[in-house]
């Protein structure tokens, strides 16, 4: 019988490929389990995926609970929902903590499980911890009390430049999703041993209301902002769609540059959404980020503040971007960008000459 007191990770696999987020979640779960003095269980759902259980044990799981069923070959919300609920019901008592990824699957499935169980769920956590909490709020006397060893689910609230610790000690499981690439995966340990359990699931007709017609890989339409070494972005200061000609021209100087944009530029219809950097777009961390005519509102900042070198060009010396960029030029981007292009090429040539000599 699986241990219902373990910290649970719901594994994610796509067509039999274990997703990186699962190893990250197992790493986070081990840290929590050690503080709680318990183990880590991993729920694994799919078809023909039982062999992946060993890999999950090597990545930090003590127990793997598998639902291997032909109906789970493709991910659909309702069939996977039924599978996770089947395991939770099999455990009899709800586990203390259930973790999932902030992926297109985790963000689809976790809220449904939480609503079904009537428990709390904290989205997109960047840190997880265990600690105590004393609730004194008078709104609901039934909640007052001191709670030990509960989940601290910590997430940024970008709109407000705050980091918040979210707590829900009253109901189990305490659920959270974590952002991709934030939690530390453990090195694979092939000597680790664990137990594998299987659970059968009984589907209902209503679980098949959604049919997957096709699953396809598609990279052609995506703009690879997240992996670019250099991003040159344009914002409201461009004044119109033709401004992006200047942005593209400057980007052409670099070996591996992608054009980015602020929400204002995208909302104005100057460039497609795929280029958008910021809270409602992509989060990027290139080596160089050049911002042309971008004021640097918080919603843009949260998407690019981790770039190694930020160079900002803006007419307004009071623009917030000059508070967090590394280098800034106060001036008209239409004058500055062509000059910058010329000087950057010159700089690289001089370096090349030196290296050649």
């Amino acid at each position: 019988m699986p241990n219902p007191n373990n910290v649970v990770v719901v594994a994610e696999q796509l067509q039999g490929d274990l997703q990186q987020i699962t190893q990250e979640l197992l790493g986070a779960a081990r840290g929590l389990a050690e503080k709680l003095g318990t183990g880590v269980s991993c729920f694994l759902l799919g078809h023909g995926i039982t062999p992946l259980a060993e890999r999950l044990i090597h990545s930090g799981a003590d127990e793997v609970i598998v639902v291997d069923d032909p109906q789970l070959k493709e991910y659909t919300t309702l069939t996977y929902r039924r599978g996770v609920i089947a395991i939770l019901e099999h455990l009899k008592t709800p586990p203390p903590i259930v973790l999932m990824g902030s992926t297109t699957i985790g963000r689809d499935l976790a809220p449904r499980i939480a609503a079904y169980m009537e428990v709390g769920l904290t989205a997109d956590c960047t840190e997880l911890d265990i600690g105590d909490y004393e609730h004194k709020g008078k709104a609901d006397p039934t909640k007052v009390g001191t709670f030990n060893n509960i989940l601290y689910a910590i997430r940024p609230s970008f709109g407000e430049s705050l980091k918040a610790r979210i707590l829900g000690p009253w109901k189990k499981p305490q659920m959270a999703t974590t952002r991709i690439g934030v939690m530390q995966a453990l090195p694979l340990d092939k000597t680790r041993k664990g137990a594998v359990f299987t659970v059968a699931v009984k589907f209902e007709q209503e679980d098949f209301r959604v049919k997957v017609v096709k699953t396809a890989r598609d990279v052609s339409t995506s703009v690879n902002l997240t992996e670019a070494k250099v991003i040159v972005s344009g914002g409201a200061g461009l004044g119109g769609p033709e401004g992006f000609d200047v942005v593209r021209d400057l980007a052409s100087v670099f070996k591996d540059a992608v054009v980015g944009a602020s929400r204002r530029a995208v909302d104005s219809g100057w460039i497609p959404y795929a280029h958008q950097v910021g809270q409602t777009g992509k989060t990027v961390r290139p080596d160089i980020y050049i911002a042309l005519g971008i004021s640097g509102a918080i919603q843009h900042r949260v998407g690019m503040a981790n770039a190694k070198t930020i160079i900002a060009v803006n007419k307004d010396a009071d623009a917030p971007i000059f508070k967090f960029a590394h280098y800034g030029i106060v001036g008209d981007l239409y004058q500055v960008a062509p000059l910058l292009k010329k000087e950057l090429i010159k700089m690289a040539r001089e370096k090349g000459v030196k290296a050649g000599a």
Partner: protein, 279 residues
């Protein structure tokens, strides 16, 4: 005719300086208000369905009385009806409690075919409320939806997943959360803007189009909303604080000089910019 329900939300406009404290926190009373940017995609999708297949579009929002502004904006884009759920007992609702209250609004409306929501909000940022409404209503959902078409009672949709997409079919009713990579926003207002202004002036007409409801009106249990009905609380917050703060700014009369000073500084700081240039 299809019955479409769209959930929209009014959020603080963080791109405006109004109401933004020096430390980046928001003073909601002074902040400018706007329609959650993600919701524009849901609203646009609803209007597309209306134009293509014929539909009655009802927009639903929850918030304090000024949130009625987003319903007016929705009328200008072509929505037919608006419902504002406003009640002091909703304050501090987390996603589970919010989804409970909003699903009760749907029950109050009665029949529906498609529910549309934005992917997430810019203030809560969770993307949880849509799926939680679907769970409460016991219906199917398609999240991260880029495109859809409807034929009879079958809806076909394309859903974004990491590195690709899924094409799927579902029998109505369904809840859809619309991805930002859906059709680019079209800023034409498809509603009759003058007619909207006109009916807003006439209380009787206004009441036909905008319903303002409380928890009691929709028969919701206040023990399941607000702080009392929320399984989570915010225990503690910290300021994210300023990032960097040591920007080297070049400013003067000659752009040539500013640019060459920047280049010299980049060289001196050994940023390795040269390595990334085509030369």
């Amino acid at each position: 005719m299809l019955k479409v329900v769209v959930f929209i939300k009014q959020v603080p406009d963080t791109s405006s300086k109004a109401g933004v404290n020096p430390d980046g926190t928001i003073d909601r009373a002074r902040a400018k208000r706007m329609l959650n940017p993600f919701d524009r995609y849901a609203l646009q999708k609803a209007i597309e369905i209306k134009r293509q297949y014929g539909a009655e579009v009802t927009c639903v929002t929850m918030g304090p009385p000024p949130a009625v502004e987003v319903l007016v904006e929705a009328f200008e884009h072509g929505a037919d009806y608006g419902i504002l759920l406003t009640d002091k007992r909703l304050a501090a609702s987390d996603t589970l409690a919010t989804a409970y209250a909003l699903h009760m609004v749907v029950r109050h409306i009665g029949a529906f075919d498609v529910i549309l929501t934005g992917l997430q909000t810019t203030d809560g940022d969770t993307a949880q409320v849509g799926p939680q409404i679907a769970e409460r209503l016991h219906i199917a959902q398609i999240t991260y939806c880029e495109g859809l078409s409807i034929s009879g009672t079958t809806l076909s949709a394309r859903r974004v997943v990491e590195g690709g997409f899924q094409e799927m079919e579902v029998q109505l009713p369904v809840l859809i959360t619309v991805a930002n990579s859906a059709t680019p926003l079209d800023y034409k207002r498809f509603g009759d803007v003058a007619a909207v202004k006109e009916f807003l002036r006439h209380p009787e007409e206004r009441e036909k189009r905008i319903k303002i409801v409380s928890l009691d009106t929709i028969g919701a249990d206040s023990a399941r909303t607000g702080l009392v009905g929320s399984p989570t609380v915010v225990g503690k917050t910290w300021k994210l604080g300023e990032i960097g703060g040591s920007c080297v700014v070049f400013q003067g009369e000659s752009m040539e000089r500013e640019v060459s000073e920047l280049i010299e500084k980049l060289k001196a700081d050994g940023k390795g910019v040269e390595e990334l240039i085509n030369a």
